[in-house]
């Protein structure tokens, strides 16, 4: 697993405070589920919602509280595509590479973005501003190809349109 990146910011003190508050929130969610081990996926989902990703500390805490071996928690977190083990960039671009989107040229949008941003799928730009992910179908296939920029779905996407949107929402660089 990657080293925890949050602890190295200049505002370390207040960050720690926030992190603690979030941990309390996570505890509460586990309590709501009576610390049942069958709630593991729900808890991981909520944890990702709270922290944005699942780092080592979070996974270990969940393992301890639900009485599940850390290997099993890590196993589940890596099995399902939805979970992220690394801190994502400030802006997240997700390209649907499901069948309908692929047939409509999603692969071309993907390779253009990989070139433009200088990163491969699954990675973030070195400045941590933008992450590029792929997904397999969001169920909006009739509007293919679909690209999601920070939770906004763009249907019938084009290379140009997507790049334009990224410039607008993620600032003028790149």
């Amino acid at each position: 697993m990657e080293k925890d990146q949050t602890s190295e910011s200049p505002h370390a003190a207040s960050d720690v405070l926030i992190a603690e508050k979030l941990m309390v929130k996570l505890e509460k969610i586990m309590e709501e589920h009576n610390y049942q081990r069958s709630a593991l996926l729900e808890v991981l989902q909520k944890a990702q919602e709270i922290f944005g990703y699942l780092d080592r500390k979070v996974l270990l805490l969940i393992a301890e509280k639900l009485h599940v071996a850390p290997s099993q928690v890590y196993g589940a977190a890596t099995f399902y595509n939805f979970f992220r083990l690394r801190k994502p960039g400030e802006h997240i671009i997700t390209i649907c590479m499901g069948t309908a989107c692929y047939v409509k040229g999603a692969d071309k949008i993907l390779s253009t973005l990989e070139q433009e941003l200088g990163i491969e799928r699954g990675k973030s730009t070195p400045d941590g501003r933008i992450s590029l992910f792929i997904t397999r179908c969001i169920g909006a296939c009739a509007m293919a190809p679909n690209v999601i920029i920070d939770d906004v779905v763009i249907g019938k996407a084009t290379k140009e349109g997507v790049i334009e949107r990224i410039r607008k929402s993620a600032g003028g660089e790149n």
């Binding site: 049942q36 081990r37 069958s38 709630a39 593991l40 996926l41 729900e42 991981l44 989902q45 599940v68 099993q72 196993g75 589940a76 099995f79 399902y80 595509n81 939805f82 979970f83 649907c96 590479m97 499901g98 069948t99 309908a100 989107c101 692929y102 047939v103 409509k104 993907l110 390779s111 990989e114 491969e120 799928r121 997904t135 397999r136 179908c137 969001i138 169920g139 909006a140 296939c141 009739a142 509007m143 293919a144």
Partner: protein, 511 residues
């Protein structure tokens, strides 16, 4: 939202508040023509509505009763060949209002069960209907209910399978967003018939709107006493919980979904024992696709015999399909079983747009088959599709035109299945990687003629030897493209040429 606001504003502006009611609905299936607006009475269906045209529609149609023809939906044939049973309410009512569902006859089937039918009566009616599971395998639903009902052990569980992991398919999603109570009512009826007190509705985290809708629907059903203890004052208890998957295609497989609900990696296990006798926490469990479940209230209300006469005898009823790819009218459709692929692709779908020509239709998702024009006469039913090398799957139909390379298409699907293979059994884990390597070789101009036989042989072997349905069907796209489009493989191998120019014969960087 803007369109909705414009309608509200226009109605106010023209003083028509007493004359009409503005309602929001779920998707009627015409996704690419959106935003759409239905004006009743008369089923006037407007497409690509903008805030500006909204104003005009109100002014002309609502105020003066003259439909604004220029904005009407231009593909009436999209609806004319469909038969809408499961999607009976889609696009016609507010999914977030349980009273609208009730006013359209919802929950009367449940009341009928509770007041006049024994659990055995219900099972018999479902058995008589001949309904077969819509999640892919096509198993007789009534038979499954008998198994679960007779299985020793308690408590019993019911799982509504809304995982819909097939990329390119959105039928279950649309159903959940447009008519969540049809699914829920089906589950409550199953709970009565099988004496199962706990149900799980398993859906994917990628479907936020469906999740929201289902959550609210469950809450409403609970507050009206349709879920919980002593349902409608009877002895029936049924609790329903929503569970979220986390993006794994295999999680929809019936033994993998059990592991997932129990909080583990979604790994399938050998059957028998089948979930009907040993499912969630080793208790008898009914696993049913949500489209199957949405048929149940109709069967209870109208009788099994009525249902058995729709579609074709060995495969009665209707099936929802997600129609996508290179097609003029993409969207969600529901057709009687036995309709031909040709009618679906050309009459309902409107054929291939942009002056291009039809090449193949992919039926059944990533482990379905690529069928050429010569197979379009096939009726849609489980057996015909399987014989042609495809599967019903969860109802994905993706149309490919002459721009798509069949080797590349096969490679795309195999890559997907390699990614999604859980790795438990060797044929699927190792075999698919082997197939992928051979396909890559061919796509990069390095294939040899023997490779075609190799693909067929390894493909057949994986189908035969894999543990679960994923491996047992994953080679289908390769096997069907080899069977129906061999000349394209030969062009790549012998002439080192990709007829469509999609494969970069050896120069492109693999991304």
């Amino acid at each position: 939202m803007n369109v909705l606001k414009s309608f509200e504003r226009a109605v106010k502006e023209f003083g028509l508040e007493d004359k009409c009611k503005i309602a929001r609905t779920g998707c009627p299936g015409t996704c690419s023509a959106g935003p759409v607006v239905l004006v009743e009475p008369g089923d006037y269906f407007y497409q690509s509505v903008t805030p500006e045209s909204a104003q005009e529609i109100v002014k002309e149609h609502v105020m003066r009763d003259v439909p604004a023809k220029r904005f009407l939906y231009s593909n009436p044939e999209f609806f004319s060949k469909q038969k809408r049973l499961v999607l009976r309410n889609a696009g016609k009512m507010d999914p977030l209002n349980i009273r609208e569902y009730i006013s359209r006859g919802g929950y009367t089937a449940l009341v009928k069960c509770l007041t006049g039918m024994s659990p055995e009566d219900v099972i018999n009616e479902v058995f008589k209907s001949g309904l077969r599971g819509r999640g892919g395998a096509g198993f007789q639903t009534g038979q499954k209910w008998k198994f679960v009902s007779k299985a020793p052990g308690s408590p019993k569980y019911i799982i509504g399978n809304l995982d819909e992991g097939d990329p390119g398919v959105f039928a279950n999603r649309t159903l959940a967003e447009a008519d969540p109570h049809a699914i829920i009512e089906g589950m409550i009826i199953a709970s009565y018939a099988l004496k199962a007190e706990k149900g799980y509705l398993y859906t994917r985290a990628e479907y936020p709107l469906a999740i929201e809708t289902l959550k609210k629907a469950i809450q409403q059903a609970r507050s009206l006493g349709l879920i919980g203890e002593k349902i409608l004052g009877t002895d029936l208890n049924f609790d329903l919980e929503l569970r979220l998957g986390a993006g794994a295609f295999i999680a929809g497989e019936e033994t993998a979904i059990l592991a997932s609900i129990e909080g583990m990696r979604a790994m399938p296990r050998p059957r028998p024992p089948y979930p009907a006798s040993s499912g969630l926490w080793r208790k008898p469990t009914l696993i049913q696709n949500v489209e199957t479940l949405a048929n149940i209230p109709l069967i209870v209300l109208n009788g099994g015999e009525w249902f058995s006469k729709i579609g074709v005898p060995h495969c009665p009823g209707t099936k929802c399909f997600s129609l996508t790819g290179k097609i003029r009218n993409p969207g969600l459709i529901e057709v009687p079983m036995g309709i031909t692929l040709k009618e679906v692709v050309f009459d309902i779908g409107g054929g291939v747009p942009d002056g291009r020509t039809f090449k193949a239709v992919l039926v059944g998702g990533p482990s379905g088959g690529c069928l050429p024009e010569s197979q379009l006469h096939l009726p849609i039913d489980y057996e015909s599709l399987t014989k042609a090398g495809a599967i019903m799957g969860s109802g994905g139909i993706v149309v490919l035109d002459d721009e798509s390379c069949m080797v590349d298409t096969a490679k795309f699907f195999i890559e997907f299945c390699v990614d999604e293979s859980c790795g438990k059994c060797t044929p699927c884990r190792v075999g698919l990687v082997k197939v992928k390597k051979v396909l890559e070789r061919i796509a990069h101009g390095k294939g040899v003629e023997k490779d075609i036989d190799l693909l067929t042989k390894v493909g057949e072997y994986i189908k035969e030897a894999s543990l679960c349905g994923l491996g047992q069907t994953a080679p289908n796209p390769v096997l069907t493209t080899v069977r129906y489009f061999k000349d394209e493989y030969l062009a790549h191998i012998l002439n080192k040429e990709c007829p469509t120019g999609k494969c970069d014969m050896g120069t492109r960087r693999r991304s």
